[in-house]
Symmetry: C2
Subunit: 413 residues, 2 copies
């Protein structure tokens, strides 16, 4: 059988320069989240097929890389049905494994539990620019805290991390699924259609209020219902409470949002913006309360998103566990930093020892002894044979950040 | 379908305290190998099934987690043959992916290329104590260097890393497959039986020279051949060259070993030992030259192993590429450190803010403002709701390294 040189379709080999950037970003994220008291945890890449297909993953459940049963479990009878061939699969997100993890380890964890995950996920998506079949996700979640302390901590930590990576002028948009639902209810949309209505509303920044109204009407909803619906979204308001007062007496969700915004604003000293956005929807239907998203000026996509999902962990744990999470688009951040020509800072002096071929024992000892001394002083020393084309060799090493070259025993033989 | 709380068989959920140790060890390894000029690279977890079953993986090829074809590739006809169902699998080591990576990216890499990999591999092994189905491997490899600079760098870097992790009194054993073969040839064993003979010789530390001789004879080899064979291994010698002179005039392999030993000895200042061991075998038949292994006093297994494999990379790359690598047993090191009661050093002050339920906007602002100031000073601050059972809560947090607790607005309402 022949060998295949390229990586599996849609997956990446990372070159040393790619890794330097990824390691730098990873390091900054870990440092920041640790300061906020989040604990790094890890779950296996492989998850039970039952958990992956438990309807928590939305459309991602269609994209599972399934792993075949092994040995006697793979009996002849199974082979008649392809779905019976897999007993596990690669995780497509970090949220389903987190739910399982929490249910399994709850008693060993602090309560509330502030989890930080950084790991690969796999989706058999159609490969396209900037979308990969193996990619890194980075999530923070607070489990067991129903108060807005969770939201404030998640937004603060994520914003601090983005600031640390040099991002400016980003905007945190915040909304609450309960507000979205209250307006839809007030206008008389059927409850089972809410998600469908919200998906159309979500397009408002692209097609405008008129476009949303038109599309809702074209879906068969009565014109007066649609007009009334849009009137709330086109009205002018100064703050979330004012916006909500026009359709409800229950201001608990909007008071939460006001408090989150005022706390975060007071902390950020103008580095970034946080605003209430009543048209923010977020795709996943498992959200139950606050939702948030971060967008960067000049980019047409969000670089982070999350929200409160109070009903999901309980399905695994068997008891109700409030939960709120924020996920950053790790690969998007890498892509943006690359586009911006970001250079990873290097502190250490990087030295190359170019060794002639066939050095004597004494020469080798002398060279390695010097290398060891420099390394003990904290310097990076690459000991490598001197190539025939030494100019080409040096160019490559300079591109890797090496600045000092020392020949060992050239022309001494 | 029900949810399953436990991780997939043989794989681990890592708790925050597990992760702290793993992250610390990972950090020390990365720092050390960087100083030696090794570049971190990464390949996908998923590899082509053709590459995984190319006879480079030895027995590991029987332990592949196979990934099913998706969509139209999984047609009805395929289902008659279970082996046609998989087009990829999870990597079982980092060496096969490295070969593919090098063949694919050769022109973009420095030559020689000093690769460092740290990643998970998967083997559908029978789960048992200390053996997992997902585990971390950590390899350094030098590709494109046929000189002993490679061996010296690999042994020095690995030893420096172990010393940095606090290991003492470890022993590097070194041998050369060419020496093993020369003796077997001299004694008249058939060439196709060498590996079988070496596997028996490998037991010498357990069953003694007499035991090895007995087992060889019981395999049907002539008694005089076996006796002659063992006479070389029981003879006394002062150094590798002296040992080899008794059966060969070609001292190139033994001169290499002498030079490696003398260079490494001169660097290590007695922190550890490096010795020639003519009975060292190493399992994988792809080794072509030097082989080495590190063992720790008091443990019956090696914690690192490697050697030169000059023929393997070429099978992927299409041109001959000399290669030498050293792999450390990451999970074994973790287990030993745990057994030794190793404590991860913490530098930062870790503070907990215990927040009363229902704080006002002003109180929240005050608390978060103080948290931000402390975090900006480099301190870790966990803001969390004060639980009813605050003693239990504090105990858990103390176990996580938090030392300072501050109540926010207790009894002020």
């Amino acid at each position: 059988m022949g060998y295949i040189k390229t990586p599996v379709k849609g997956m990446n080999d990372f070159l040393p320069e790619d890794m330097r950037l990824r390691e730098y970003v990873t390091g900054q994220i870990k440092q920041t989240y640790a300061k906020y008291g989040f604990s790094l945890i890890e779950t296996p890449a492989v998850e039970h097929i039952e958990n992956l297909t438990s309807k928590q993953g939305g459309d991602n459940e269609k994209l599972i890389f399934k792993i075949m049963k092994r040995g006697e479990k793979l009996s002849k009878e199974d082979i008649t049905d392809s779905s019976a061939l897999a007993d596990s699969g690669l995780r497509y997100d970090l949220t389903v494994p987190l739910s399982r993890y929490y249910a399994s380890n709850m008693e060993k964890l602090t309560a509330p539990f502030k989890a930080f995950q950084l790991g690969n996920v796999w989706r058999a998506d159609r490969p396209q620019k900037g979308r990969f079949r193996q990619f890194t996700q980075c999530d923070i979640d607070i489990l067991g805290d129903s108060s807005i302390l969770a939201e404030i901590e998640l937004v603060s930590a994520t914003s601090a991390m983005l600031t640390k990576l040099g991002f400016e002028k980003f905007k945190v948009r915040i909304n609450d699924r309960r507000i979205l639902k209250a307006i839809a209810e007030k206008c008389g949309f059927p409850a089972e259609d809410y998600d469908k209505v919200f998906i159309i509303l979500d397009k408002m920044d692209k097609i405008g209020a008129e476009g949303v109204e038109k599309e809702l009407i074209s879906c068969g909803y009565p014109e007066d219902v649609c007009k009334k619906y849009m009137s709330y979204y086109t009205a002018s308001w100064d703050n979330c409470n004012e916006f909500c007062s026009s359709f409800t007496d229950d201001l608990s969700a909007s008071t939460n949002i006001e408090m989150i915004i005022s706390c975060v604003k007071q902390l950020n000293k103008g580095d970034f913006d946080i605003v209430f956005d009543p048209t923010l929807v977020r795709g996943m239907s498992y959200y139950t309360g606050t939702i948030f998203e971060i967008e960067l000026e000049g980019y047409g996509f969000s670089i982070a998103g999350g929200g409160r999902y109070d009903d999901m962990i309980g399905k695994f744990a068997g008891i109700k566990v409030p939960a709120c999470g924020f996920s950053i688009g790790f690969e998007r951040i890498i892509t943006i930093l690359k586009d911006k020509g970001f250079k990873v800072p290097t502190e250490d002096e990087k030295i190359v020892f170019l060794a002639e071929n066939g050095l004597s024992k004494e020469q080798l000892e002398e060279m390695f002894s010097e290398a060891t001394s420099l390394r003990n002083e904290g310097k990076t020393v690459m000991v490598t044979p001197r190539n025939k084309n030494v100019k080409f060799q040096k160019d490559k090493l300079i591109a890797e950040g090496y600045t000092i070259f020392k020949d060992f025993f050239k022309n001494t033989k």
